[in-house]
């Protein structure tokens, strides 16, 4: 038996899986922010009551958490110190010195995680090639460490210039710190991620140090609590890059679990795309505040090398702290059920990115929200049933929602009430579709071939509109769309990603030496996985990042399996040119190319998961709850939609649109011309009509 636990901002979700029978049990309770392990204990006790003996039978607990990202956003991390090269303590504060909003003279910048008085310098200096310019001066190092001790730091980051080419001085500092400040956790940039560009590397290392004590503390407490409950299995933590790792590694590199939470949905998507053989799947998880999505190609989600956290202006690129670690290529935009609609100062409709969140929430929740939201529009379009929201536990106020749209949107824009309501729904779909098209195109995918997989409370309500705008042929909604993502915990591979910078031209590269570099990375990956108790054959996937000599950005290339030294340089070059041409339209075979970064993913084979089959045996007709009027975008009118109870639909049921499929946490809309089919696992597959209207007019 295994259990997946996802600690989110509001709720902690549990899925218990019996691998032999494929049966799952779920549980949901409020997150306990002060001590998240408390909610976990509560959930496990509840599941133990449902399935007696399950805790002692558990082999694995797989855990995703927003603990780390919240600590950064709320600035609740450790009192951290930074040791760096003489002359460079302000690198962290200077950042890249670009104003992210060119015409805004008042744009705020994020405050560094380590204030100036705790950023101290050591006499030492490496050249760009890693050779020593100024030898490491131990006396200056001890003096700096003494100052950190006086300032009572709880965690230390070390980032020296050019150390990605030579770790000797950082390692020397690590030894001194162990001597002088025993018990204080240390993060050195060479171990966190040895990549060129000092600001990005320092910021990443500092962030790691900042959250290290609280992450270790939390994971230790959690291990104890689980033990006390009778758990004898292993604890794994979800990584931002889509693998899982041991609690020990997560405690050492907490900067790698920042996106731990949202990654599970992507991993679930990866699994579904393989299981159902969908070569291109677009996972789309829409909640109250944001929509997160990801393209999965041939069963694999992309991984990118850098992202930002704690943006001063939430959706403004460049206004956050830069983190340079591998992270699943998630696109997050400010589009959720709570996104607020209004007339912009330009006299156009604006929806989001600001959201009314869960509190006060949409107007129709009746909790004091006054701005009309996407959920209010969904209600007014007939997509949501005011009497069956969250399974009927919450009544929605239709009249108040109507007044909100009249007053804040239809009136000020001078459009009809229904144009306004439909406009809100349609614009948020368009916002998502425009971002999705760019995201898909940039990764070489084709929006007209993707299968849209919808998750989250609002995802299934908007999936039809989104799929139409993309021109996608079909969409799929797993059962319990709110919990469906948690299945990702069971299918994530045990994996760890490693990167090292080393600049060398293709033409003169000593491929045998590069093979040696790859092997070092692989050995390190193997050690990390074995430390986490991995058994069996470890798989290594290699890639390189290369560029024209003199270029500033790299293009990522997969490396064929086998001995790097045996590769034909012309094959590598052809691979580069083909990739470059696909991305930028032209390539330049006469210009020289160089390697910059070498990347390895070490992973164990994915443990197979038997999805539970549904056992519903009734007739299709028995699942029909009735009929209601809901808006049809193509006809621009209310038309009757059949309403279905998803829990009662038997396998192989086939239902033509328009229809509404309800379950407790969400509602699936299928428009006119669509066709829904239920498979043996209870997934709803919806095919779209071929002649998709084009976005603006439907």
């Amino acid at each position: 038996m295994r259990i997946g636990v996802d600690v989110g901002g509001t709720f902690t979700d549990f899925v218990l899986l019996d691998d032999t029978s494929g049966r799952t049990h779920t549980y949901k309770c409020l997150t306990t922010p002060r001590d998240p392990a408390e909610a976990i204990e509560q959930g496990l006790r509840a599941l133990e009551a449902q399935v007696p003996g399950c805790i002692s039978a558990l082999e694995e607990v797989i855990h995703g958490t927003t603990l780390v990202i919240n600590a950064i956003i709320e600035r609740k991390g450790a009192r951290t110190g930074l040791l760096t090269t003489r002359g460079f303590r302000d690198v962290l504060e200077l950042g890249r010195e670009i104003r992210y909003a060119a015409y805004d003279a008042f744009a705020e910048m994020p405050v560094p995680l380590v204030p100036r008085e705790r950023r101290l310098e050591v006499n030492e200096r490496l050249r760009a090639d890693g050779s020593v310019l100024v030898p490491f001066d131990e006396a200056s190092a001890r003096a700096a460490i003494a100052s950190l001790r006086d300032q009572q730091v709880e965690s230390v980051a070390v980032c020296l210039l050019n150390s990605f080419e030579n770790p000797a001085h950082e390692l020397a500092l690590k030894r001194l710190l162990a001597e002088e400040l025993p018990g204080v956790p240390v993060s050195i940039s060479y171990e966190v991620l040895p990549q060129i560009r000092e600001y990005e590397r320092t910021s990443t290392t500092v962030t790691n140090a900042y959250v290290k004590p609280l992450t270790s503390r939390y994971l230790l407490q959690l291990t104890d609590r689980l033990g006390a409950l009778g758990f004898r299995g292993r604890l794994f933590i979800m990584l931002s890059s889509g693998g899982v790792t041991s609690a020990t590694t997560a405690a050492e590199f907490p900067v790698r679990i920042i996106e731990s939470g949202p990654t599970a949905a992507v991993i679930a998507g990866q699994y579904y795309s393989r299981l159902f053989d969908c070569p291109e799947m677009f996972c789309f998880d829409m909640g109250g505040t944001t929509a997160k999505s990801c393209l999965i190609q041939d069963g694999i989600a992309g991984v990118v090398p850098t992202f930002e956290v704690g943006r001063v202006q939430r959706f403004q690129k460049g206004s956050g702290l830069t983190i340079q670690v591998p992270v699943v290529d998630l696109m997050e935009i400010g589009a959720g059920g709570g996104s607020i609609a209004r007339a912009s100062k330009l006299g156009t409709l604006q929806v989001g990115p600001d959201s009314s969140g869960a509190e006060p929430g949409p107007i129709c929740y009746g909790r004091g929200g006054t701005g009309p939201t996407v959920t209010d529009a969904d209600l007014l379009l007939g997509y949501l049933d005011p009497e069956y929201f969250l399974g009927g536990t919450m009544r929605l106020d239709v009249a108040a929602a109507r007044r909100g749209v009249e007053e804040h949107v239809a009136g000020p824009l001078g459009v009809s009430f229904m144009d306004a309501v439909w406009g809100i729904h349609d614009l948020i779909n368009e916002t998502m579709a425009a971002a999705a098209k760019t995201h898909i195109a940039e990764r070489g995918g084709n929006p007209r071939l993707v299968t849209v997989a919808a998750f989250g409370g609002a995802g299934p309500v908007h999936a039809w509109g989104l799929a139409r705008k993309l021109g996608a042929p079909r969409l799929v909604v797993p059962p319990n769309a709110g919990v469906g993502s948690a299945l990702g915990f069971f299918t994530a591979p045990r994996a760890f990603d490693l990167v090292r910078s080393h600049k060398v031209p293709f033409a003169t590269a000593d491929l045998a030496r590069l093979e040696g570099l790859f092997r070092e990375l692989e050995a390190e990956g193997e050690r990390t996985l074995r430390k986490a108790g991995a058994e069996g054959q470890i798989r290594f996937t290699r890639s390189v990042e290369a560029r024209f000599i003199g270029q500033g950005s790299e293009t990522s290339l997969p490396v064929p399996e086998g001995d790097f030294a045996a590769l034909d340089p012309d094959t590598l070059r052809a691979l580069f040119d083909a990739t470059y041409e696909r991305l930028y339209g032209r390539t330049y075979p006469e210009s020289a190319v160089e390697f910059v970064n070498f990347c390895v993913r070490a992973s164990l084979p994915v443990q197979l998961l038997q999805l539970p089959k549904i056992t519903t045996r009734g007739t299709v007709a028995a699942a029909r709850k009735g009929e209601r009027q809901a808006w049809c975008g193509t006809e621009r009118a209310f038309v009757p939609h059949a309403v279905w109870d998803r829990y009662k639909l038997p396998p192989d049921a086939e239902i033509p649109g328009p229809g509404i499929f309800e379950e407790r946490e969400s509602t699936v809309i299928v428009g006119t011309g669509g066709r829904a089919r239920v498979d043996e696992y209870g997934f709803l597959w919806v095919s779209l009509p071929e002649e998709h209207g084009n976005a603006g007019e439907d």
Binding site: R86, G87, F88, D90, V91, E93, L94, G95, R96, E97, I98, R99, A102, Y103, A105, F106, A107, E108, M109, P115, R116, E117, R127, A128, N162, F164, I196, R197, E198, Y199, E200, G318, A343, S344, K345, L346, G347, T348, L349, Q350, L413, V415, D419, E430, T431, A434, T438, F548, G550, Q551, G552, S553, T555, Y584, G585, R586, S591, A695, G696, E697
Partner: protein, 541 residues
Amino acid sequence: MPAKIDPITLEILWRRLISIVDESDAAVARTAFSSLLRDAHDYTCMFTDSRGRELAQGTLATPGQSGAMALGIRQLVQALPPDSLHDGDVFITNDPWALAGHLNDVCVLSPIFHRGRTVAFTACILHHSDIGGRVASDNREVFEEGLFIPLVRLYEAGRLNEGVLAMIRANVRTPDQVNGDIRSQIAANHVCARQIVRMLDEYGLSDLDALADEIIGRSEQSIRAAIARAPAGVYRADGVIEQVAGQPDVRICCAVTIDGSDITVDLSGSSPQVHWGGNVVYNFTYAYVHMAIKSIFDPEIPNNEGIAAPIRLIAPEGTVVNCRHPAAVAARMQIGHFITEVIYRALAPALPARVLAGSGGTPATMQMFYGRYRDGRPFHTVLIRGGGMGAGAASDGAGSFIFPANGANTPVEILESDAPLLIECRELLTGSGGAGRHRGALGRREVFRVPDDEHAPQSPVSLAIQSGRFRLPAEGLFGGQPGALAQFLVNGQPGNPYGITRLEPGDVVTMDAAGGGGYGDPRERDPESIARDRREGKVKS
């Protein structure tokens, strides 16, 4: 498409246009060769409708380039005979008077075809590190400053014009880098054209012109409404800008008239053009007038031709703010960047919460190092940086930035792997921010060393600088104090920031950027901020 576009569809299409230009902007960052582009983002992508009216520009556009392009591209496009254009044509020019005011800003311009007709133009200006010539601020004529490329076809219906490329390559020091950067401009235009055509197809549109009318019209209404809310009147300020030793300082006289929703900026009375590279062409002056007006009145709406409609600029020909050919213009930012500050100062009494005190990043500082490695290979690298931002009514100066222009620093680790130089420090200068109720941000120091060991380059290494604030600091507002001055030292002695400095192995160059001016009386500063400044070593104790 209906004649008048409804407000909902309009928003949908407008967002799409901005995401297209941002995608082509990202293509430059990923493909460019010189660190000035890939790391420092000194470039701007934009596109226009079929008549050359600017519709959208990259979110990270550089205000000097983007403001000048809005005027310049329209003039270029309207002068091209429509039936002379072919799908696959790519034009190139760096005419300072036509576009962004100096030869290094090279523009690549392409018509976008849809169903056999020109529906749009996409343009990308990159600040090329190297355009040949004598790299210094004290040239007398533009002829000394490098290669001048009038508007010519680099590609004709998709075929490369080899002669043009050979001409460019023969006139620059680092032909491969220049060629690589031109390629990245072509890649950006390619991405832009592909996405615009895709959008037109998807929405069944035949062109962008009706959409342009709506976008431009609504943007104009928005900024006019903001201007109309400001108190009408004539507001004046003068700016004094230091120049080459031994020459009188440059004066910019500015009268801003707010009359209903119209705003006129009259620079009559400003100094005549100068005999060095600080001269500003009309378009570049206009760009920083535009920056001032947009940042004061309507910073958040997307930029396009509509923003320009209420603005009228008077800049007499032959003055330093509207120089005549063949004036030297390479260092035009040393004067041009001050125009925004002078307008801020003029409008400060009327709109005290919408302006900043003087910034240490006005003007931007640019340092060009060039020479040869020991093995004879050439190197040529350009660094840009700002100084302490001025404080405002609501907060301290935000940090070390270029303002009103924009751009990022080059990482130390990148510079050292691109050039045979060492950086000994890059740090904030304690006490350099002007005191005030809100403190100006600190300037920063950067120290360069030319190695004299086995990594030494050939002698000499040339250094050319464009900068300012060596004698006249960034002033405070409403009782705030000025920020600290900038310094340029060679081996500890003041150097000449206007000419070329020849460095030998072992030489050390110190560049101190100026601090920002304070805002409001320093005695009104809150005790908590004072304590934090002391703790962090941001003020002298």
